[in-house]
Subunit: 218 residues, 2 copies
């Protein structure tokens, strides 16, 4: 697959089939992940694949409680505004994201594979995320959809306990990514165009060009 | 370019030529960046391209001071250990990374293009990084090397002031990425193999397979 197709069409795919992800595809996902950069190339990271239904059953109720926290603490105002005027395009988009995220929570135990990532000794905490995004791009190349979530931060101690992460080693939770073959179609997600979110040399100075439609599309 | 070639060969490229990066390539870099996911698809991000030599001249001395802080505060023990036994392979790797990072600092003003990223209202601070990594992968597809640095965090207020980031809007600095056509060759960076950094279902449980050599190579 061309790199641009992967970059443009790897969007959150939360509605997936329960079919397993083969070991061959799992290898491609993880081997791509570890090629990503890390601060000082330290590679102080761990990747935990999860496909044990018993563990998923333990984590599912926790995840649903965490997502409730996300709605109540992070998105409360946006959800209230969206509910008050659901026909506004921006609000409709918010409600779509909410329904999709809630679907993930409601079907947590049904995903065939998840990837938890952890980093150690990273002052900014950001160094783990390129590897996760690489894993998702490699999955896309194999026809596997993914979705990225950090909602577990609201009950992190319980999650780390279930996964057996040694508390004395100070591993930071990076994210949880769900995988699965999507039931829907791949596509280029709509985005705020480049010229509305980009500057050149100084905040507020136009970047110097406009890109009204995606440079890559089907 | 195949997505795996991009994922496997986008390694830090800090030794670059001063040749400019065309607007066409800049468009591809930024348009790929904004396709990345963000928390709740909020896209509360800003991308600032920097190619003004006057601004680079202001930032260069700050960056060199920041990198000194990185060496003194973050890597002090590793550098001391490496200096004491430079022939140890792990130490040699550390010293190579240090020389390469120092090269970036010493030649800060010579890079033809940089990308600063910022996020707003992101509780975990990680949501901006997939977009940055997408920008670097798109650059790779165009033959442009890149290197990711967060060293500016040590003098962030000065940097945000020079770039004109409005303090009252609480933008979080994501990273600074340098771009340039590399003087060296592309290649697959050596990494700790998957089975040494991965588990399945529980911390410490083997992932179930070994990948002794990269699944993609030239």
């Amino acid at each position: 697959m061309d790199v641009y197709e992967a970059l443009y069409t790897t969007r959150a795919m939360r509605r997936v089939r329960p079919d397993p992800i083969s070991e061959e595809v799992q290898r491609k996902i993880l081997d791509a992940a570890i090629r990503a950069p890390s601060g000082g190339n330290s590679q102080t990271w761990r990747f935990l694949l999860l496909d044990d239904k018993a563990v998923l059953a333990q984590l599912g109720p926790i995840y649903r409680r965490c997502l409730e926290q996300v709605w109540n603490l992070v998105y409360k105002d946006r959800i209230a505004a969206a509910a008050a005027a659901p026909d506004d395009p921006e609000h409709a988009q918010m409600l779509r994201v909410q329904r999709s995220a809630q679907h993930l929570a409601d079907h947590f135990e049904d995903y065939p594979l998840m990837l938890f990532s952890f980093a150690q000794g990273d002052p900014t905490g950001g160094s783990i995320h390129p590897s996760t995004w690489s894993a998702m791009l490699a999955a896309r190349a194999e026809g596997v959809g993914s979705a990225w979530t950090v909602a577990f931060v609201f009950e992190l101690a319980a999650v780390l306990g279930i996964l057996g992460v040694p508390p004395e080693e100070n591993w930071q939770f990076g994210s949880c990514v769900t995988f699965g073959y999507p039931t829907g179609r791949w596509g280029v997600a709509p985005r705020i165009p480049v010229h509305e979110v980009s500057y050149r040399n100084h905040w507020g100075t136009p970047v110097g060009f406009e890109i009204p439609t995606p440079l890559w599309s089907y």
